[in-house]
């Protein structure tokens, strides 16, 4: 009897939670179909896909996402490797650093970035290149906690020291060790980190809206939401599908190893 009560309790919360998951999605989907009067249609989606701004902002954010991934990996992989190999004493420091983006919320970060880089001596926000640099840097900072952790966990799973020494004894130099020994072993971690970064950057609003405005996908969605009701619902569905695709790819590459893959861009 008690066992059944416990099971009932579990089922109750599970069903409630799934409803919480699914009802908003269903509501949004149904709403997005109502663009045509008195009939269900995909008109809202057609309009979104016909909008050149949809494609240009999408491409822009995708591009920024790829640059962020590249910059983040270049910055983090050698550092995390070297710290594990030679500087274990710095691990406490890097752990502290990877918590910093949590202490400094995105809105505060962008506030500080604008204050520092819009004026002397940097004047970065005066040019496109400068602005994009700040944008990518901000996204690398946002991605830092989970990127560092993913890479570091990946490094923990392989015997960094033995691999390095084995490669050295075979005459390999540092580039060979890094690119042909360490990085191939980190593939799964790097891919997870990359897709999570992409998922974050694609819809990111806070930082993008202050630095580049409606050039980016997040601010574009926001603008559509202010004027067009049905299109905004279809954008929400598209965006959800996109997040789903990125997370699915992570699962696929990590072969079902459930990682708490959570970025911070709300």
């Amino acid at each position: 009897m008690r066992r059944y009560l416990g099971l009932l309790w579990s089922w109750f919360w599970m069903i409630f939670g799934w409803l919480y998951f699914l009802v908003p999605l269903l509501a949004t989907f149904l709403f997005s179909l109502r663009a045509k009067k008195d009939a269900l249609s995909f008109l809202a989606y057609e309009r979104v896909f016909k909008d050149p701004n949809f494609w240009s902002t999408f491409a822009f954010s995708l591009q920024i996402g790829f640059i962020t991934i590249l910059a983040g990996l270049v910055l983090i992989v050698p550092t995390a490797y070297w710290i594990r190999l030679r500087l274990p004493r710095l691990r406490a420091v890097t752990e502290f650093i990877s918590m910093l983006p949590f202490v400094v919320p995105a809105i505060v970060l962008v506030f500080g970035l604008i204050r520092v880089f819009s004026g002397a001596p940097f004047f970065l926000t005066n040019t496109f290149t400068g602005t994009y640099t700040v944008l990518v840097a901000a996204y690398v900072v946002l991605a830092l906690p989970y990127m560092y952790r993913a890479i570091d966990t990946g490094l923990a799973a392989i015997d960094v020291r033995t691999l390095t020494e084995a490669a050295q004894s075979l005459g390999a130099g540092w580039p060979t060790i890094l690119f042909r020994v360490i990085i191939p072993n980190l593939r799964v971690s790097m891919i997870s980190a990359a897709f999570l970064t992409l998922a974050t950057v694609m819809g990111e609003f806070t930082i993008a809206s202050f630095l580049v405005g409606i050039k980016a996908f997040g601010p574009y969605m926001s603008l559509v939401g202010q004027n067009k009701t049905y299109e905004s619902s279809s954008l929400a569905i598209i965006s959800f599908a996109l997040t789903w695709a990125f997370m699915g790819l992570i699962q696929l590459f990590s072969r079902g190893r459930a990682e708490a893959a959570v970025a911070g861009a709300h």
Binding site: G6, W9, S10, W13, M14, G17, Y20, V23, P24, L26, A27, L30, F31, L75, W82, R84, L85, R86, L87, P88, R89, T94, I97, S98, M99, L100, F102, P105, A106, I107, V110, F111, G112, L113, V134, R149, A156, D159, T162, T200, G203, E204, F205, T206, F210, G218, M221, S222, Q226, A236, F240, T243, F246, M247, A258, A260, A261, V262, A265, H266
Partner: protein
């Protein structure tokens, strides 16, 4: 985000640090310099810049006045609303997430549910910001699915009762959408860490299920649960995009206030704006310090 997943490395890498206090290997440290320079330039410098600015008055003289002004009712209320929404959504999302994680770990629900729950949680906890706001407008907005459903079924108009998607509760329900999946992701490993032997030992000693939870499981889980709640709190506290696109800026949240200050000095006092931002950092730093202490404690019992 911040996972307490840091398995002890299987490598005996500390042969060098086993020797008595070797001097710091500066030459090795050169290779990690770019990383630390990056952090200095894009995290420390911006924060420090805000910090310095927050101690200046309009003429650029040193002052504490900006921090005193944070307690003015108009500004303090923004913090207060932010803190209340973050707490409410962290507690609500925390309970729901815990119960779901409980169901698939020790609650005896079928195994396939676990995989699908974890996958969906990964997606939903990253589904936030602008599109999430759209989704909740279609759900709980004035003509939203649930609003209309409740009106047709029970004849109750939520909006006549004072509910609104733009209000405290509207925002809280929306935040919970990304809060409880995060709770599921964080707390599932902790629940997995509860050993069957503990329960058996308790039962052998005559403990009921309630005794076991109250005296064994919950005390072990408490640091993990509180730590997770702090992460959820921070998640909601820093949220800007969701709140802005849901309410159009018509809710007095601290992030919204900072946003308008960035756009155009609405406070007419730059220093106060910087103090506003530093106030958020102070709240988060306090939270993260508590989180850190709790994690230390929970790691004693659970190999996460």
């Amino acid at each position: 985000m911040l996972r307490s997943n840091n398995p002890p490395s299987p490598i005996k890498r500390d042969a060098s640090s086993a020797r008595p206090a070797p001097s710091f290997p500066w030459r090795d440290a050169l290779w990690v310099l770019p990383f630390f320079l990056f952090i200095l330039l894009f995290v420390i410098l911006p924060s420090a810049s805000l910090l310095f600015g927050s101690f200046q008055d309009k003429q650029g003289n040193f002052t504490f006045q900006n921090y005193i002004d944070l307690f003015k009712p108009s500004i303090f209320s923004a913090y207060w609303v932010s803190i209340r929404i973050s707490l409410a959504s962290a507690i609500g999302g925390g309970i729901l997430g815990f119960m779901m994680a409980y169901g698939v770990t020790v609650g005896g629900l079928p195994r396939w549910l676990r995989a699908s729950l974890l996958t969906f949680s990964g997606v939903a906890s990253n589904f936030a910001g602008v599109p999430l706001a759209f989704a909740f407008m279609a759900t709980l907005g004035r003509t939203g699915l649930i609003t209309v459903l409740i009106k047709n079924l029970f004849g109750i108009n939520l909006y006549d009762l004072g509910f609104s998607i733009y209000s405290f509760w509207g925002l809280t329900f929306t935040y919970i959408y990304f809060q409880f999946p995060l709770m599921v992701l964080i707390i599932t490993p902790a629940l997995d860490g509860l050993r069957r032997e503990w329960r058996e030992a308790a039962e052998t000693l005559g403990a009921s299920s309630w005794d076991y939870w109250r005296r064994v499981a919950l005390p072990i889980l408490t640091p993990s649960i509180l730590g997770a709640m702090i992460l959820l709190f921070g998640n909601a506290f820093g949220a800007y995009a969701t709140a802005l696109s849901l309410t159009g800026g018509f809710i007095n949240l601290i992030t919204i206030l900072i946003g308008s200050q960035i756009k155009g000095d609405v406070l007419q006092n730059l220093g106060l704006g910087y103090a506003l931002a530093m106030g958020m950092v102070i709240v988060m730093a306090f939270m993260i310090a508590v989180y850190y202490l709790l994690r230390r404690r929970s790691e004693r019992w659970l190999k996460l």
